[in-house]
Amino acid sequence: MRERRWIVDTTLRDGEQRPGIALRPEDKIQLALLLDDINVHEIEVGIPNVDTEGIDYVKEIMKKKKNSYISVWSRVNEEDVIYSVSCCPDIIHIGTPVSYVQIYSKLKKNKVWMQKTLARCVDIAMNHGVKVTVGFEDSSRADVGFMIHTARLLKDMGVETIRIADTVGVLTPCRTRTMIEEILEHVDINIEMHAHNDLGMAIANSIEGAKAGAKLIDCALFGIGERSGNCNMWEFLHAAERTFDFGIQKKKVREVEKAFEKIAGGNWNEWENSSSF
């Protein structure tokens, strides 16, 4: 019997960050409801921003969806979290860098600041009765000990899921396994695997992540996303469906892809679903 795993779709958030893609609120509503129809476990619908699509589209999706959990992405910033809470989503995903390179040279802060700020942000969201998941950005270049320590803090606060993000796409399958196993050995928490395809290994690392115990796997239609993209949903299901049950029919993903092509324009399959081009 195949083990159960769950798909988190990030087309409307990380996927949309690919230059050349700019979805409107009505596009996001249409695509989110199609993803909801095919039984995607969680749909990350965007980063609430007053200057772009605002928050009404999230409320509209929340009203109409039937199957999926709807999540929004927020920086580890109290104001952003408060704004995200106002969307009334099922889940707020708070993303925070965990590698020293990003904490010190991007945030220009330190580890203690990061953990304290994260705790405050989680607290704000939870006080509003919203479920929180936390994204460990740049996990692949982070100290596993620090990630374990942070995961424990989050677990104590009631966070049930952390996302392991290979932000710059440098993981290999063996490193993916080692990292996930080590975290799970020390903290009883759900792991969500978020791979990038910079070395052509997003599918392989996602499979290995699932084998190592990650319950949730992040995917995007056509594998769109920053640089070489995220894990391609159809290709991932094609590769892993004999090993795991994702509760999604692969052929239905193609139907959502067609809707995406109609909205965003272009023939994305020409590029994305071919091993050579």
Binding site: P19, I21, D198, R227, S228, E235, W271, S275, S276
Partner: protein, 327 residues
């Protein structure tokens, strides 16, 4: 020692390159540190004289044919006889077929092709089993890419103690992609057969000319838009320190970072673009007005903005607010 055999020139018979293109391809391969090349019989004929400084491999059906191919380092034969000049090739389509290798344990040089779905199994155990069964043989692993895992499998073969793999440029012929494997081994194993891999760009252009097909702009390592960045968080991070969001310098593969403006841009992007286009700088309040207009236009056209569009937004805002730019 790690050996990568690039088999691109064994996969292009449907669009046979000219002799000049073949020579150029070989030269580019040498500059990225790959000197083991598998070629087809047609490519061998076309080359007339084999370029120096390479080890060439040709696939043939039977040993008597060897005499027609002078200068070849090894002949690849399906289940071929065990001689010094032959690499015996075995296609394995399922992990359960690995045990069949026991019958070939006395062979000196073996290539294993296939095992597309190995990653869905305990691949480390399977790779170990292959090495144990063929412990007296030199093994070349050539994973196929039906499930998008060939590059990962090739890299894992090396990282778990293997020494030889077969790949192809851009994954031509459904194999692991040479450039992905090369970059992964540089990052994961500090394997750098050659410091300079900027000629990947030239290889890509040559490959596109030969095949008549465009490589995806997002293809790992060689896609021409993989260093385009729009997200405000990423642009700001790269401006502070490129290694925040770039695993390796774009220049190392002959490319550059390009800031794109659109729906996801932040204030840093506007400031950098103004500077890049020699348009001076504006105050913070004006930057925010410009940014809002960029986002609005980007959503209207469902696309990023060109430099011309950015230019006209800036001029429009400056004119409306009656401001001058600090140049």
């Amino acid at each position: 020692m790690i050996r990568i055999i690039d088999a691109t020139l064994a996969t292009l018979d449907h669009c046979l390159p000219t002799r000049e293109q073949l020579i150029l391809f070989c030269d580019c391969m040498k500059t990225i540190g790959i000197t083991d090349l598998e070629i087809s019989q047609e490519v061998y004929q076309k080359l007339e004289k084999l370029p120096e400084g390479f080890r060439f491999y040709v696939k043939i059906d039977a040993s008597p044919l060897q005499k027609f191919f002078r200068g070849i380092h090894r002949f690849i034969c399906h289940n071929g006889e065990n001689t010094e000049s032959v690499m015996s090739e075995f296609q394995l389509n399922d992990i359960r077929e690995i045990v069949q290798l026991r019958a070939h344990k006395s062979r000196d040089y073996v290539r294993i092709v296939g095992l597309d779905d190995l990653l869905c199994h305990n691949y480390e155990h399977a790779m170990k089993e292959i090495r144990q069964l063929l412990h007296r043989s030199k093994i070349n692993f050539c994973p196929e890419n039906t499930y998008g895992c060939a590059s990962a499998l090739a890299v894992q073969w090396i990282l778990t103690g293997g020494s030889e793999i077969t790949t192809s440029f851009a994954g031509s012929g459904n194999l692991a992609a040479t450039e992905e494997v090369l970059m992964a081994l540089r990052i994961a194993a500090r394997y750098k057969p050659n410091q300079d891999i900027t000629s990947l760009v030239k290889l890509k252009e040559l490959y596109e000319t030969i095949t008549g097909k465009k490589i995806s702009p997002y293809k790992p390592v060689i896609g021409n838009e993989i260093f385009h960045v729009e997200s405000g968080i990423h642009v700001d991070g790269i401006a502070k320190n490129p290694s925040n969001y770039e695993a390796y310098p774009p220049e190392s593969v002959g490319q550059t970072t390009k800031i794109i403006l659109g729906k996801h841009s932040g204030t840093s992007s506007v400031e950098i673009k103004l500077k890049e286009l020699g348009m001076g700088s504006v105050d913070q309040e004006t930057t925010l007005v410009i940014l809002r207009k960029i986002k609005k236009l980007s959503m209207k056209k469902r696309d990023s903005l060109s430099d011309e569009e950015f230019n006209s937004i800036v001029r429009e805002v400056m004119a409306y607010e009656g401001k001058k730019m600090d140049c």
